[in-house]
Subunit: 338 residues, 2 copies
Amino acid sequence: MAVTIHDVAREAGVSVSTVSRALSGARRVGPELVERVHEAARRVGYRHNAVARALRAQRTGVIGMVVPEISNPFFPAIVEAVERTLQESDRELMLCDSRRSPDVERRRIQALLGRQVDGLLISPVDSQASTKVLHEAMRHTAVVQMDRYADQTRLDWVGVDDESGMALVVQHVRDHGAERVALVSAERNSSSGRDRLDALRRATTTAGLAESVELLGEFSIDWGAAAARELVSRGDLPDAVVCGNDEIAVGVIRELRRHGLAVPDDVLVTGFDDTPIATYIEPALTTIRQPREAIATEAVRLLDARLADTELPVRKLALQPELVVRGSTQPGSEGSAS
Amino acid sequence: MAVTIHDVAREAGVSVSTVSRALSGARRVGPELVERVHEAARRVGYRHNAVARALRAQRTGVIGMVVPEISNPFFPAIVEAVERTLQESDRELMLCDSRRSPDVERRRIQALLGRQVDGLLISPVDSQASTKVLHEAMRHTAVVQMDRYADQTRLDWVGVDDESGMALVVQHVRDHGAERVALVSAERNSSSGRDRLDALRRATTTAGLAESVELLGEFSIDWGAAAARELVSRGDLPDAVVCGNDEIAVGVIRELRRHGLAVPDDVLVTGFDDTPIATYIEPALTTIRQPREAIATEAVRLLDARLADTELPVRKLALQPELVVRGSTQPGSEGSAS
DNA sequence: TCGCCACGGGCAAACGTTTGCCAAGTTTTG
DNA sequence: CAAAACTTGGCAAACGTTTGCCCGTGGCGA
């Protein structure tokens, strides 16, 4: 069943090396021979065996990628962009989901290394627990962190500039009259959770605003809803609720409305990431748009640079985000869209 | 840098075959030797080379999967479940996005075949254009279609029973007093589009309802919104709008509301799939829940069966869906949740 | 005319495993 | 106690490529 380069060689009446070179163009081969080889390959139905090639060439053309949760809508967009970028250089993506567990993450990384991936793109689950396995991984292949990162690693990273993002948000709500803002975000155990919290604190201070309260849970709708209940029950509502990502904001908005509060008329609400959800809900969400395409292309670029030279200095690329203003901070303009 | 089985053999003072057997357990090896080999492997930091193993064993332990669009929230849930299932048998998933293009799809499949995947899971982009490449693929490996399928293929398939789903929906809206229903769905060029349309027609006939109008576009929010505008401009609103998937329903609801119509009080709206979106919006969406976990496990099971015996008769598995009733068809109960 | 070089084809080794076969040692059996 | 059977370790071939090296041919300058 398996038709190999040997079959092609026999069919074309040449040696296997000639076939290999004719097909790959690694060295000059007579034009009429090239034609004959291609013709023979077509005739016997030859298909390249990437496994054998990988073993011999010591490179697989596969990049491994590990994300904390593929069903979090932020990641499919990144994955899509990475895949598109890789395709330009004829490489494939092997995607793994670490299910937000450092233990699963470790196993997935080990498996990818065993498969001899040419590089590893990862959004680490936990800023502490992921460190060790990443250190091991970088001894075997090029590793670039995306979006999130692990502490104490000398590893490249590309993501969004949380500092700028939060500054944009704070400035925006202040311009709309907010004086007291609340933060609803995730615990400090992921780098995004921690950095966004710190960034918000600095931004409110700089803007001269009062931060009324910080509620930290996880990046989910349910947590957003729970936090909103907490805010309402305290009876001391802020002017604006700044959320750590879009999903939290969705939960917050839904729960506030359920308690008879109007968004944006009673409270402004903002998200972070600009996932598709942001336009699904009503009012549409004012949020920070991550430059996803750029994150993906830069990640691959960093990976290739590291591949070319292991000794390169570590680079951390914080890309500039963009404020997207929608209904959730625009009183009166009832949910005007995307 | 690369530490191989030979290094382990030298360290342990045995032959490579003994190391291989001790590590894989392929044959009885003396217990003290097993121990010594493991110890040596640990000491030199040995890691299995999956590429070499794949070449020799003629199986890679990788399953290829091609989906039309990973950012369509229906697919990440499937991918997650498939990955989890595969992990039980120590296999990896190689995921590709065909970007809703038959041409990209063809290239992705070719690449996966070249990588010697042990099997192929695919949700074909187009019921016509995808047929040819699938036929070629099945000559090289086991292929199972998921969710969507291509015509004229003798290929296994597992998905949801659209017939039952639409029957459940129609029965439900009729029970809530609807007499005239409209369908907003996608063109007939994907199998889901076609089958859901046909199923709805039969269901309305059976239920003795009048189907006022069919609007066919694509499975997207934008199309849902456009269709809703069309419905409104015709001025002859149906009692219920049945949508081909959840995203269309989201677009329909948003646009209806924008025209001052209340859902569910003026018009009932239903979705299909029960993606996370269904609970994001207000009112939450009454929809058909696909048994995603079951689809994933059955797909892998079919694949393994086919792998074991190529001559097996073709099987088409239509799994039973479930109606999930939420606010969009429950007048008065203002958006009670999931 | 001779020698040198460029060109293009082929041989065979290597990539890191697994595994069929053989042989030596050990146990069971009649 | 000898023969048969079983156990266990090692040798070497194979998986399908790519590529370093060698070699024959023909063109060209001296």
